[in-house]
Amino acid sequence: MSLLGEDIVTEDGEFVINMGPQHPSTHGVLHLKIWLDGETIKRVQPHLGYIHRSIEKMSENLSYRNFIFATSRMDYLSAHINNEACALCVEKGLQIEATPRAQVIRILMAELTRLSSHQLWWGCTGLDLGAVTPFFYAFREREAIMEIMEETCGARLTMNYMVPGGVMYDIHPNFQKRVKDVMKQIKNNLHEYFEILTGNVIFENRTKGVGYLSKEDAISYGVTGPTGRASGVSCDVRKWFPYEGYDKVQFDEILDNCGDCYARYMVRMKEMDQSVSIIEQLIDNIPEGDFQTKTKNVIKLPKGEFYQRVETARGELGVFIVSDGAASPYRIKYRSPNFSNLSAIDHMARGAKIGDLIAIMATLDLVIPDIDR
């Protein structure tokens, strides 16, 4: 891609600028090339690959135990859920199930991850749209969740806690008490989130009616997660294809029909409530027993193809394993939610102002390593 060689002004008088790969509002190394007429966006072209590590190729040489941990580096804000998807896919191939205790621990960890991810997103959205304070409010609760993760998994970002058959080790003795404390803290503080940002006039003007995505387009572009649900697409994998016993807990799938940035914002805010509710239902009901099913030292999947999808904080993550019977996968494909969500950005941004693009990117909640893999 010759960036410097091309004309800055096209024949039609359109102005071409590059946003990123080192731009504060892109949250990573995303590079957008934008065609402008004055301040109006005519076209957006994403240039990807600045953080491509070829995880799919790497996994072809790793064992079925090891490849899981590479996925923590994809969507690093949903590291637990990525690991869970891989573990579930291997379990599907082995035709085993995690123990009841492990399943509940996995759901708890996944929902804590979702909460911390949404909190980070909320802080960054405020930051992108000119409000610095939300970031500190969000990190107050996020820090408490990170400490729980640190205590049980030994890590704060790339936890590597899910293994085929269950979880790597049992939860910390303090786990239940600390989770309850954090849930209490979040419930007490969530109204502050709304007070500080949701009703703000500047924030509402910058998000309402901006970056509209219709239901049909959302399905056609494969947009999932809160972004898809804000356009009215029912796409929650936890409801559609329940895994790990998500069918046994009570929660609502949050839908909104507006399809603009504000709807995406509200869907995520309401999802935090649902995650808190799921955690509260399960925290006192962790079954006793083993935290791991016995598996062989060297896992070999039978010949065949296995597909497992889960709901990460950003949408539907699919893990597609093709096995030829050996100790490492023949081919692995990750259907990452951000990759599909990003493909709609051109459609959403056309006709908007350049400042609106920041709001669109903020509410898409992109994590770049997940796009590039």
Binding site: E56, N61, G222, F339
Partner: protein, 151 residues
């Protein structure tokens, strides 16, 4: 529709299609030339209405390439996997499905980038992750890179 009805429907359109139900989903294996008409039919038929292409990828089986399309219908809630076999590994070509599902545009660029499959009529077929002057198709089994370490 149940899997049996879908099988009958596809057999009526493509008599040569073979089916595989050993896995989780119904797999339909067709030749690459037959892809576009059946995909259009699967999307537009009112009883099928596969409106959501949730995964598009390719598998290199050394003697042939297999394009894999995972389709789901939001309305009828059924899932199908279409596999299109490309026999020419030296110059693999297949029709694009961009016109049916917009998400295919990015996913096909990814397959082009990593497998070298050329999508006929694709609006913007360029490498998506790697640099434009990169040589070879990394996810092919015969790809050699001197910097790669076997573990």
């Amino acid at each position: 529709m149940t899997n049996e009805e879908i099988k009958l429907f596809i057999s009526a359109h493509i008599p040569a299609a073979t089916f595989d139900e050993s896995g989780e989903f119904l797999n339909v294996i067709i030749a690459s030339e037959e892809l576009l008409p059946i995909m259009k039919e699967l999307r537009s038929n009112r009883d099928l209405e596969f409106d959501y292409l949730f995964c598009l990828t390719c598998i290199d089986w050394k003697d042939h390439l297999m394009m894999v399309y995972h389709l789901l219908s939001k309305k009828h809630r059924h899932v199908i996997v279409i596999k299109a076999k490309i026999t020419d590994v030296n110059d693999p070509q297949i029709e694009t499905v961009c016109g049916i599902w917009k998400t295919a545009e990015f996913h096909e660029r990814e397959v082009y980038d990593l497998f070298g499959v050329k999508f006929i009529n694709h609006p913007d077929l360029r490498r998506i992750f790697l640099m434009d002057d990169w040589e070879g198709w990394p996810l092919r089994k015969n790809y050699v890179d001197e910097n790669m370490i076997e573990i």
